[in-house]
Symmetry: C2
Subunit: 208 residues, 2 copies
């Protein structure tokens, strides 16, 4: 729930710090030793709290390990909502995602290690997908509001939000494994392909 660290008081700052410490500890230990070999006890010890306190912040080991993904999703949603309402939706989506990119070598290494860790444990992978799906749902609400569609009745906002989320995930996945491409270029290309309707390459166009 705590999305902003508005410094409303010592209490909230400490809570945010504890949550961040637990998430960082979970991620770090899972990357180092593999998600399977990390216990709640170890995560709690790393963050200097009791195992019981861990469960006051996260309802499962997996949730802590993907907390950065959840936060990333909330961050993107917030930025999307701040966009001017008359901007074309695809421009808003693309710019928000491109604007959130950290394409530094350190980020690439961190993300690659994180994705590898996710892939090593089915439950963690599922939690990552759930985190992205949460973002997708909020994206769909924003898209619906901006395009005059209804998320409860129209497929359009869901298809757009899914496409954007998948462009993001696909670009990151490929960028983390390939050594010869830029993340921003991949995001741009993914959005361009989606907006072109994903035509089959090397097949004659159906217009003639």
């Amino acid at each position: 729930m705590p999305r902003v660290s508005c410094e409303r008081g010592l209490r909230e700052r400490k809570k945010a710090a504890t949550r961040a410490a637990l998430a960082a500890a979970a991620s770090r230990l899972a990357i180092e030793h593999g998600a399977d070999h990390v216990t709640v006890e170890a995560i709690a010890a790393e963050a200097d709290v009791s195992p019981r306190t861990f469960h006051n912040y996260f309802s499962s080991r997996e949730e802590a390990m993907v907390a950065s993904v959840v936060d990333f999703g909330w961050n993107l949603t917030d930025r999307l909502q701040e966009r001017p309402a008359d901007e074309p939706i695809w421009d808003a989506l693309r710019d928000v995602i491109v604007g959130s990119v950290d394409a530094s070598p350190q980020a690439r290494e961190r993300i690659a290690a994180q994705f590898e860790m996710f892939a090593g444990n089915p439950a963690v992978l599922a939690s990552q997908l759930a985190a992205l799906d949460g973002m997708r749902i909020r994206f769909a609400s924003v898209v619906a509001a901006r395009t005059g569609t209804d998320a409860g009745y129209d497929m359009y906002p869901h298809l757009v939000a899914s496409a954007a989320a998948n462009a993001l995930k696909t670009a990151y996945d490929l960028w983390a494994t390939r050594r010869d491409v830029g993340l921003i270029d991949l995001v741009d290309q993914a959005f361009a392909m989606i907006r072109a309707g994903l035509p089959e390459p090397g097949r004659s166009e159906p217009c003639s």
Copy 2:
């Protein structure tokens, strides 16, 4: 020789039957009582096996509850691979999905109840997403093979597979909640929108 041709032996038939019984029991109990209130012990009892045997077939409660989704994904992948190689990829995807549809009222009730059950438990929802993601990955391999792209280097097959999987999921989600639309129509519309590049409705075209 056995009378039934495709069954390789009593042993394999029994295994398949046990697995199916466990999956059905898990799904039924979870729909009836809520995923949270169903224990492995109850599922095993419903399928007339020991709790220990349950874990010989499924590694978690959630896995059993979404087994039908996993099987559905494998089924679709198989049918996609059987398609003629020269067929346009979007036609193949659309026809395979449309061909798998059971739009009967009973199916709608069953799927609606199932989705509601999924949504009631974060871990089960994550497992559903993981099941769909498994299908998506296999779709991407097939798409890559058919379009001359490389799933390890090109975004195209991943974007196409994601788009198809999301069209499927979006159509089912909406069909399960709305009472006034046909599932096949929704699938058709979703594919049409994606192939058109998901243009923003009610906005003047950017062609001038």
